[in-house]
Amino acid sequence: MNFYKYASPAAFYPLAGKLIPWFAIPAAILFAVGLYVGFFVAPTDFQQGDAYRIMFIHVPAAWMGMLLYVLMAAYAGIGWAFNARLASMMASAIALTGAMFTFLSLVTGSLWGKPTWGIWWVWDARMTSTLILLFLYAGFISLQAAIDDPRRADRAAAVLALVGVINVPIIYFSVQWWNTLHQGATIRIMGKPSIAAPMLAALLIMLAACWLYSIAVVLTRLRRIIEEREQNASLFARSTV
């Protein structure tokens, strides 16, 4: 089987359509399970009371904001380096979902900060670098919208996306590098996580749900982008030939 044929937007379009329900339905189920475990199984935290339950949406949202940015930059880079239209379209499809999750992590972080730190917002390293991430998404989206020729827009936005990748490790390590109000990592790559098992389970289920949600939404948006761009291309071909 030749997988390369799916690098063509026209060939990928029907495949994406078939894949969407396989992500959307499990996403809905996992959101329900994750919220059930998070609210009915996980115990009340002895330090933060029930306010900690914001974690089950805040932490997945923050991770998705960072991971989707890296993915978006990678697709934009591939689209630029190999002149692959579909990869650039994928980058554009990811941008809005990544921005949504970044915004969600800032809002939920604020709603968590007020009761636990007594303040909605501080200009510390983690929050400031996350705000910069949101601006990078906004820059990517508006730069692409500002240039009429889609391939030129893709290239310009790819440069911005790739330069901005440096911000992601800054966000991740900010709690170690600078003094901050923000608590350290909940789940560490090495060593034991710092929370109880049902809390960890709820967190991981919500993260999986956010991933599946993102894939379903991004594939749907990718199909819209293919429709718009390929329709323009066929109109253009007809008008010039």
């Binding site: 609210f39 009371g49 339950r53 949504m100 709603l111």
Partner: protein
């Protein structure tokens, strides 16, 4: 039941967070589905 909704006094912050999440995600889904119709 009301104990559950009060979230130990943190109800506004906890439910506020999940409400914002619901509005943003539902809004994104509706927007992306509507985009198709506006094209035709």
């Amino acid at each position: 039941m009301s104990e559950f909704f009060s979230m130990g006094g943190y109800g506004f912050y906890v439910w506020g967070s999940y409400l914002v999440a619901l509005v943003l995600m539902a809004g994104e889904v509706v927007t992306v589905l509507k985009r198709r119709k506006s094209l035709r």
